[in-house]
């Protein structure tokens, strides 16, 4: 295994042109290597690449760690960051790495979906911004081309003031999400719902959003309907972690509770 440590984004991108695998915190990739699932010949080590660690307002460098997001991020993203693995994992793992892995259960994804974030991909030809829903294309599949590097996450300039994150897992810490969700609500009532672990990619719940956004002061009946629509809109599976039925139920309940938190 050959590892290069580029000193600039340009060098990193040049390294990728040989089919090398980018390595950020290594908290996903090295697990795959240890399991023997992947055996990369060439690796581009990104951890010492200072430009990726820059965080400028709404632009979060791909190399920013979960630990830092836990401390400095917007409320719901910080709450999500707190649930990423253990403190050791959060010190190493990055938001860019989370996106590169693109697990359906990625803890950071529901927030990016809820606020309509974009992902900055950079290649030798320059940078492009890809909307979150075009970036995630399937289970652990993204729109990133092999010669592109995830360089940043671009959030909207204005974030909804009310936002809440929640994650259902069987254990009370250090657990893969059975369901995770972010709900945001703006002053004008506009509500968004980002959901993880309930479809091949992170998703939104547009019918539920539309319904509840028009309710200026949601009643209990509105909240119940919102919960029902979220449960209906998710597309979960049954696997060794949970059942389709429970994930549907959990997604609806969790989204309703997060909305209630936003409305308080």
């Amino acid at each position: 295994m050959e590892i290069v440590h580029p000193r600039s984004i340009e060098e990193a991108i040049a390294g990728l042109s040989d089919g090398a695998v980018p390595l950020a915190g290594g908290t996903d990739l090295m697990v795959e290597v240890n399991f023997g699932h992947v055996r990369p010949e060439n690796v581009v080590g990104l951890r010492r690449l200072e430009p990726l660690r820059e965080w400028d307002g709404s632009r979060i460098g791909a190399g920013v760690t979960w630990r830092r997001i836990e401390k400095e991020g917007p409320t719901a993203l910080a709450e999500a960051a707190r649930t990423v693995g253990s403190p050791q994992i959060r010190n190493a793992g990055t938001i860019g790495g989370n996106l590169g892995t693109a697990s359906p259960a990625g803890d950071g994804h529901p927030f990016l979906a809820a606020v309509d974030a974009s992902i900055e991909l950079t290649s030798a030809g320059g940078s492009r911004l890809v909307a979150w829903d075009e970036f995630f294309v399937g289970v652990k599949k993204t729109a990133r081309a092999p010669d592109e590097l995830i360089t940043a996450v671009e959030l909207p300039d204005e974030l909804p003031e009310r936002q809440a994150f929640g994650k259902i897992g069987i254990r009370n810490a250090m657990v893969i999400a059975t369901v995770c969700a972010v709900v945001t609500r703006s002053e004008d009532g506009r509500t968004t719902v980002g959901l993880g672990s309930v479809a091949p990619t992170p998703i939104r719940a547009p019918r539920a959003e539309t319904m509840i956004s028009s309710a200026a002061k949601p009643t209990d009946a509105d909240l119940a309907e919102f919960q029902r629509l979220v449960s209906e809109e998710v597309r979960p599976i049954t696997d060794h972690r949970s059942t389709e039925e429970y994930r549907r139920h959990g997604a609806g309940v969790l989204a309703r509770r997060l909305l209630e938190r936003c409305l308080r």
Binding site: G36, T83, K167, R241, S242, E245, H249, V253
Partner: protein, 741 residues
């Protein structure tokens, strides 16, 4: 000769009843302790194992040529290369060292390789081409029972079978497959001695039984194989069976080089046996005053593909199927079935855990039907010294403070505060799912009983040797320290018996001492401790007799105020004593399951307090308090350590720890998905140690390792039931079982 001046007599340090620092404690905390994973030898090769990817398959062909073609590969061995007995097993040698014509479970070893480094060994293992022809796997235990694919059937009938009670409750219960999940995976090093023999250093709970099995399968003389105790990172039953031991010795003798193997985490989950999943059916009948008049139970355990200890686990499950209660009309039918699921065997609690969930769920149901307090019902029926065990009829001879356990639990104050304001202290923890208004509190109780030591006529013995050294004394033993603190307690016993402060414990190999038996069945403190006590007492008596002394202490032998033999003179002599200790004999039971099957018993009770988010089915176990029958706490801190750890393992089985199976395949063989409780899942524990004289263990000590695990699961399940109103007929309790019953 010196004379004593104002010196207090007989006050050695670190004796029984105190909690001295464990000698391995600081090295373990500092990372300096040598575990089996850390072993190394000059010129060492690394080994890897080829495992079946099918729950059942015919092995049509094995082509090792592609592996041997890789540079640095020294050996690829298959079933054809096993020089001696082709199979191994603790009770029946039915498990192939390497699968020959047929692989019978997912992950079964088919070939082993040795190479210059670990990476090459793993690549070579992947390069071996095995021609599998998948066969239909038998994974349904009921179907296995119908086809009479069984390791053992148990039938217990005691008392008048026609008795009927006024109040009847029935239930069906299920226990998922728990794993011991020791943090140290299987690891070992085999070193050829250059004369056809081999020294084995490997994770184990029982080096003598490993040695016997290596001897048989390698076709060697017993003196050619020496199995050495080594550093073990947890066991809980997972290390009773052979796994990599024979493979390592085969590879070492084949290559003439030391060979090391360390299982990966995912391999560890297939490389050792698990706790038997269980299916239980119960019918309890009582009179209107709450006296149990009839208990019927059916116990099905899935033993998986090979025998391991299924027969003994099944027997235990059946013998303790009624729990610590008296009843004079009992019928228990049990079966341990053979399937193509992973082999199951020993795990802390050894069959008593599974049935406890069943009988304690039933006792709560009965209390509900009788409109009676659940602890009162238990007290009415409590099994105590002098009573016959409801199943076997064996009269309990040693202290069994069941009523005191119950009264102690009753007296423990409940937490006054409601659900926490801290989100991480609520169900869902750091996931921030739940707020106080979503949470209901529940309290549940359970009692459990288990035998201590081996049963059913096993010749259960342990040998220990106490030898005088320059600095004091050493206890030599082949008993295994797995983290439980044996190394501390044996020294304490010897200090108390000799009257000196400086005693160390030395783990010696199988050629230097006879067996100590297994570090299991809560037995080593009683059995190896018993041997140590007797050896130390005899040694002291011989020394005092030789020098006509009346006191032995750190300075030497005293007669009155005169030091007649200073320690240096004692150390120059050849003072040692070797003792083989046996506990009271037991017998195999008769066709009705009647007889004196057990040497001793222990009882414990647990009270769990949980907060449940019923809508989401999430649980926070706040407290599990306990009262436990310990005989005498030789080392109170170690006893509390066993209690807290055992409770946590019980909490794990109650709410998260399960190997999830899909057609014979373990779907979650990683710590990502096999969830162990974290500190946010760990309850507060208050433990009351109930001490009573009269057990045959040293100073009246009883084994304490297993009781904390037996009823803690059932107590948590009962508390969840109380909080949620759900029936809770299965553990682990999953969110959907609560939220979507």
């Amino acid at each position: 000769m010196s004379t004593r001046t104002g010196r207090k007599v007989g006050t050695p340090q670190g004796v029984v009843g105190t909690s001295p620092l464990r000698p391995d404690g600081i090295p373990k905390l500092q990372g300096r302790f040598e575990y089996a994973q850390d072993l190394a030898a000059e010129g060492m090769l690394w080994a890897a194992t080829v495992r079946s990817p099918h729950a059942r398959a015919r092995i049509a062909s094995i082509d090792i040529a592609p592996a041997l073609a890789i540079g640095g590969v020294h050996a690829c061995l298959t079933a054809d290369d096993v020089p001696g007995r082709a199979t191994f097993g603790l009770e029946h040698p039915d498990q192939p060292v390497l699968a020959a014509q047929e692989a019978r479970f997912w992950g079964e070893p088919v070939a082993v390789v040795a190479a210059e480094d670990l990476d090459t060994a793993r690549r070579a293992a992947a390069a071996i081409e095995v021609g599998y022809e998948p066969l239909e796997a038998l994974t349904d235990p009921e179907e296995a029972n119908r086809r009479d694919e069984v390791f053992r059937r148990m039938r217990i009938r005691r008392g008048d079978q026609s008795v009927r009670g006024a109040v009847v409750v029935e239930g069906e219960y299920e226990v998922g497959m728990q794993d011991q999940a020791p943090l140290g995976t299987e690891a070992g090093l085999a070193v050829p001695d250059g004369q056809g023999g081999v020294d084995l250093y490997a994770t184990s709970q029982y080096v003598h039984v490993d040695q016997e099995q290596v001897v048989a399968s390698l076709g060697l003389r017993p003196d050619q194989v020496r199995s050495h105790p080594t550093g073990i990172g947890g066991a809980f039953g997972a290390r009773e069976d052979v796994n990599l031991h024979i493979h390592l010795c085969m590879l070492a003798l084949h290559t003439g080089r030391p060979v090391k193997m360390v299982y990966r985490r995912s391999e560890s989950f297939t490389g050792h046996v698990h706790r038997h999943p269980a299916w239980l059916r119960y019918r309890h009948e009582a009179d209107r005053d709450g006296r149990l008049v009839r208990v019927e139970a059916s116990v099905v355990l899935d033993g998986g593909a090979y025998a391991s200890t299924t027969s003994a686990v099944l027997a235990n499950a059946c013998y303790f199927a009624v729990g610590p209660y008296t009843c004079d009309s009992v019928a228990v039918d049990g079966v341990g079935v053979r399937t193509n699921n992973p082999p199951c065997g020993a795990m802390r609690g050894f069959g008593a855990v599974q049935v406890c969930f069943g009988y304690e769920s039933q006792m709560d149901r009965l209390a509900h039907a009788l409109e009676m307090d659940p602890l009162t019902l238990r007290e009415i029926n409590a099994l105590e010294t002098g009573h016959p065990l409801a199943t076997t009829g064996q009269v309990i001879q040693t202290p069994l403070p069941t009523v005191e356990v119950i009264k102690s639990l009753q007296a423990m104050p409940l937490p006054e505060a409601g659900p926490s304001d801290l989100p991480t202290e609520l169900p869902g923890g750091s996931g921030l799912t739940s707020e106080p208004q979503h949470v209901t509190r529940g309290v549940g109780y359970a009692l459990g009983i288990k035998n201590l030591g081996f049963s059913e006529g096993s010749d259960d013995y342990a040998q220990a040797r106490v030898r005088i050294t320059d600095s004091g004394a050493v206890v030599e033993t082949a008993a295994i320290e797995v983290g439980q603190g044996l190394v501390t307690v044996l020294a304490q016993i010897a200090r108390s018996a000799l009257g000196i402060s400086h005693v160390e414990v030395a783990h010696v190999d199988t050629s230097k001492i006879d067996s100590a038996g297994s570090t299991s069945a809560s037995r080593q403190t009683q059995v190896s401790g018993g041997a140590t006590l007797e050896a130390a007492q005899r040694l002291r008596e011989r020394i005092l007799g030789q020098f006509d002394g009346d006191v032995l202490d750190d300075e030497g032998v005293w007669r009155g105020d005169t030091l007649v033999t200073p320690w240096t003179a004692l150390a120059a002599g050849d003072w040692e004593e070797t003792v083989t200790f046996r506990h009271p004999p037991t017998t195999m039971t008769d066709d009705n399951g009647q007889g004196v099957a057990h040497a001793d018993f222990a009882v414990a009770g647990h009270r769990a307090v949980v907060d449940v988010d019923v809508e989401l089915g999430l649980v926070k176990v706040l407290r599990v308090d306990t009262a436990q029958d310990v005989g005498l706490a030789l080392n109170p801190q170690s006893v509390r350590g066993q209690i807290e750890g055992g409770i946590l393992q019980g909490v794990g089985l109650a709410v998260m720890e399960e190997l999830v199976m899909g057609e014979g395949v373990i779907l979650n063989p990683t710590f990502t998905d096999y969830l162990l409780p974290t500190i946010l899942d760990a309850p507060e524990v208050e433990a009351l140690l109930i001490e009573q004289e009269g057990s045959w263990g040293p100073y009246g000590a009883k084994g304490v390792g297993e009781p904390p695990t037996i009823s803690s699961t059932a107590a948590v399940a009962a508390a969840i039931r109380a909080a949620s109103g759900r029936e809770i007929e299965r553990v682990p309790v999953r969110p959907q079982d609560i939220a979507l019953p």
